[in-house]
């Protein structure tokens, strides 16, 4: 059987496959052929694109008043807003990971988003974030940079308000589980520490630097 003879019956099925309406038998026949045929796979990709584009031509109708706030309420009653995204963009810029110009403006935003995506794509990461590290009086004592990926990691930078000494780095998840991540030293108000973390960064809620000897009043913490 020639390549054309093998492809021809499958090509007949591709439009319905792309539209998601093919029967189980037709799907099975097509899926048997597609892995070994780049040409048919490409054709299916193109028809799937057509099927998706069709929806763009669909009707437009504004929803009832208040729709947007009802959706936002649904989204954020399930999970508290953390504004991680803007922090993530800032982190990418701060870390010098190709974030590009952080300008207000469409082009700069797009470049930043594109650069951010490409940066994350290098290691299949999902996002970066940055959170201020605060002492109990809400004075800034540094930053926590986080990366959601495989593995996730954190990098802690202490500057300014921290008391010199040894600190234990402890993270708490949204479920309340505590993980001791490591130990770090702060000297003359400065120090840094980083490590992969044993849980998804996404699941962490709080990161604290707990002084090993000084009173807990010198603790620093960041809401992630």
């Amino acid at each position: 059987m020639t390549s054309d003879e093998r492809c021809s019956p499958v090509r007949e099925l591709l439009p319905e496959l792309a539209l998601g309406i093919a029967t189980g038998d037709d799907r099975a026949r097509a899926l048997e052929h597609l892995p070994g045929c780049p040409s048919c796979r490409r054709a299916l990709g193109e028809l799937t694109e057509v099927a998706d584009e069709l929806l763009v031509g669909g009707p437009v109708r504004e929803p009832p008043v208040g729709f947007e706030s009802r959706v936002v309420a649904r989204l954020f009653e399930a999970r508290p807003s953390r504004r991680r995204w803007l922090a993530a963009a800032a982190a990418a810029a701060l870390l010098g990971l190709g974030a590009g110009a952080v300008y207000v403006g469409t082009r700069a935003d797009r470049e930043l988003a594109d650069s951010y995506r490409r940066t994350l794509a290098v290691a299949n990461g999902e996002y970066f974030s940055a959170s201020p590290l605060l002492d109990p009086r809400r004075r800034r004592g540094g930053h926590v940079f986080g990366y959601e990926g495989s593995p996730s990691w954190v990098f802690v930078v202490v500057s300014g308000a921290a008391r010199s000494g040894a600190y234990r780095v402890v993270a708490t998840t949204e479920e309340g589980d505590r993980h001791k991540l490591g130990d770090m030293d702060v000297s003359k108000g400065a120090g840094s520490w980083g490590s992969a973390v044993p849980v998804d960064y996404h699941d962490l809620e709080l990161l604290a630097l707990v002084p090993r000897e000084a009173p807990r009043a010198h603790r620093l913490a960041a809401d992630l």
Binding site: E12, T23, E49, D52, G57, G58, P59, L75, W85, Y127
Partner: protein, 185 residues
């Protein structure tokens, strides 16, 4: 916030940024709700579908792959699937073909955002659809928007199954050519 790309807003939604989420919803709510309404035919159900679309987008935003499609088509695909599921639960009887939305005749009242965002693309797709013969357009709309299989369309339209399959296939190939998506089938 309005100047941000769709992808940037989706990234914001993924990370729990309320402002980005609101901007994304405002940008796409007319399309998502309009599509949902055209499929389920009821304002309350359409709002449920549209809300669920944004909730699922939020849950799955990290799985969005820009290489595989634009944010608009991704969101609308989600909306379509939820609407079709809703329709299947709500209506056991077949859809009356007479009530099927003819895309060319749908009232279109674009929001200010929509006038600036993607309106040209919408018109391009609509123009391509309107070029199709009526019977091909009906078969394609039933398949693409309502998720009807060729056999179901055959029964709804009292048309032989082979004819329906040919109509769908021909319509898809014409659209692919008109929309200039590849050239290899």
């Amino acid at each position: 916030m309005w100047s941000l790309s769709d992808e940037a807003l989706l990234a914001g939604l993924a990370s729990g940024d309320a402002e980005a989420a609101a901007a994304l919803i405002r940008r796409f709510q007319g399309r998502v709700y309009g599509l949902a309404y055209s499929i389920v035919g009821d304002a309350g159900a359409a709002e449920d579908v549209a809300q669920e679309t944004f909730v699922r987008a939020w849950r799955h935003a990290r799985a969005y792959d820009a290489r595989r499609g634009r944010v608009a088509t991704w969101l609308l695909s989600i909306a379509r699937n939820i609407a079709i599921d809703t329709l299947r639960v709500r209506r056991s009887e077949p859809l009356d073909p007479a009530t099927v939305v003819a895309l060319g005749g749908v009232s279109h009242d674009p929001s200010p955002e929509e006038r600036g965002l993607g309106a040209a693309e919408t018109e391009r797709v609509r123009a391509a659809l309107e070029k199709l013969p009526e019977e091909q357009r009906r078969a394609l709309v039933l398949a693409a928007f309502y998720g009807r299989t060729a056999r179901e369309i055959s029964e709804l339209e009292s048309t032989p199954l082979g004819t329906v399959k040919t109509r769908i296939r021909t319509a898809m190939l014409k659209l692919r050519a008109t929309l200039e998506v590849g050239d290899d089938l």
